[in-house]
């Protein structure tokens, strides 16, 4: 049995019909970060159609996406391009392409926090991120100003149902506590 094509993989997983794309470029025109993408949105869709799985997954494009959905809104064929980018992140994580990506790493720490507390503990998560990157003094002036004006959540609240929720999250992430 032949492997399912990259197009099938994307369409099944995202629920988005990508094959109706006629490469009009409107998604790219509206994208606020197209300028910093290795592969711009309409080309990402084009490569999905032509089956260039590795090229797309190994690029940083899925991780540059802000999920602002301007592309989805403007596509004349109703293709939810933002959802496709989200799906690319999932596949790229699952197949190891995103191992060293900062955005994936930060997302991981956010979910760690929700797993432990039931909520996103701002300060703790940002500190963990900075420590892991060795960025101790990065944006110190900004951090101080935020601290002074009460714009950093210092304490973290533990929800009562955190044990149950934590167990569900742990199971869904497919690994034990690290």
């Amino acid at each position: 049995m032949p492997l399912p094509s990259f197009l099938d993989e994307i369409e099944t997983r995202s629920g988005v019909t990508v094959s109706v794309c006629y490469q009009c470029c409107r998604c790219t025109n509206g994208c606020p970060v197209a300028g910093e993408m290795e592969i711009v949105p309409h080309r990402v869709i084009g490569y999905i159609l032509s089956g260039e799985r590795e090229k797309v997954l190994a690029s940083t494009s899925p991780w540059k996406c802000l999920q602002c959905a301007t592309c989805s809104l403007r596509c004349p064929n109703g293709i939810d391009v933002a959802r496709v980018f989200e799906t690319l992140r999932q596949i790229s994580l699952a197949s190891g392409f995103a191992a060293k990506n900062d955005v994936a790493h930060f997302d991981d720490l956010i979910i760690d926090s929700v797993q432990r507390h039931g909520r996103f503990a701002e300060l703790e998560t940002i500190m963990r991120y900075r420590l892991s990157k060795g960025q101790f003094m990065k944006d110190a002036a900004m951090g101080l100003d935020m601290l002074r004006k009460g714009r950093i959540g210092l304490s973290s609240h533990n929800i009562r149902g955190r044990k149950e929720l934590g167990a569900i999250i742990r199971r869904m992430r497919g690994h034990r506590d690290r």
Partner: protein, 290 residues
């Protein structure tokens, strides 16, 4: 008097807790009761669905299950919480396999997806009403020239219809006009502020948010008004990178309500870009002022 269930979300309990307080003061004034969701959890924002769709569905389903028990409509002021919760409720109601999956994961909690979710603009328009708002104004804020900033997620929700125009929303314009502010037209109502990428790529957020602030200045505004805590923080933070933009504060919609209703807000000190000039320009109505 109407009561809503209330999902403040993580931002409104930490970096934007003053937004939570402002919102409570204003809704209490209009006798809209809020019952905070019992033991709510994080919506997972963009981090959960990037990892696994099911994780995002389950996180949202937990809050939806708690809200559904009350039978009340849910207010979610944070754009991310609002968009995620609303899209998830529709998906749980409409897709059997998602419904079964979340119910199995969360058992003994149970969830149907029947929940009605509202953002703060919809809440003012639907449960208070423009006429009542206009009639309740006690202070003149006509010196405020505001640009309403909606951001991405308030109108562009993946998998859910929007209650406002997606390219040119007007709900907040209507409210600000009723409050007596001068609403300045501009093209950046729904441009992206850089969203959650501040921690990982601050330069990019600065660039995207800086563009929005530069456009507000060019349009001749003296305040930007938003409803999303992440947008507010990203725009407010531009003060640390773009000295040329200093001076235009970024207010939450409920803070503009406070200025028009009470003449001031006790929490203005939490703004990175000072709103002192705006507060100082508020006039007591009656007598000779219009």
């Amino acid at each position: 008097m109407i009561t809503l269930s209330y999902f403040p979300g993580c931002s409104l309990t930490s970096s934007s807790s003053f937004y939570d307080r402002s919102l409570r003061r204003v809704l209490a004034f209009y006798e809209v009761g809020l019952r905070e969701l019992e033991d709510w959890s994080c919506c997972g924002a963009a981090a959960a669905p990037a990892m696994r769709q099911e994780l995002s569905d389950v996180l949202n389903a937990r809050n939806i299950a708690i809200a559904e028990k009350s039978g009340l409509h849910l207010l979610a002021p944070c754009s991310a919480c609002y968009a995620r919760t609303r899209a998830s409720a529709l998906k749980i109601a409409g897709d059997r396999s998602t419904r079964d999956m979340v119910n199995e994961a969360l058992s003994p909690m149970s969830v149907k997806g029947s929940l009605e979710v509202r953002n703060i603009i919809e809440t003012f328009l639907q449960y208070v009403g423009v006429e009542k708002i206009a009639a309740s104004v006690a202070y003149g804020i006509g010196s405020m020239r505001v640009v309403p900033y909606y951001g991405c997620l308030l109108t562009r929700i993946m998998g859910a219809p929007s209650s406002d125009d997606v390219e040119d929303p007007s709900g907040m314009d209507v409210l600000l006009d009723a409050l007596g502010a001068v609403v300045v037209p501009w093209q950046f109502k729904t441009e992206c502020c850089g969203a959650g990428s501040t921690a990982t790529d601050r330069d990019r957020t600065t660039r995207l948010s800086g563009r929005i602030m530069a456009m507000a200045k060019k349009a001749g505004a003296n305040a930007v008004v938003t409803t999303c805590p992440l947008c507010q923080l990203n725009l407010d933070l531009t003060t640390h990178a773009r000295g040329d933009l200093a001076g235009i504060p970024v207010l939450f919609l409920t803070e503009v309500f406070e200025l028009a209703l009470f003449g001031s807000t006790p929490d203005s000190k939490h703004h990175l870009i000072s709103m002192a000039d705006i507060e100082g320009s508020v006039e007591i109505l009656g007598g000779d002022s219009a």
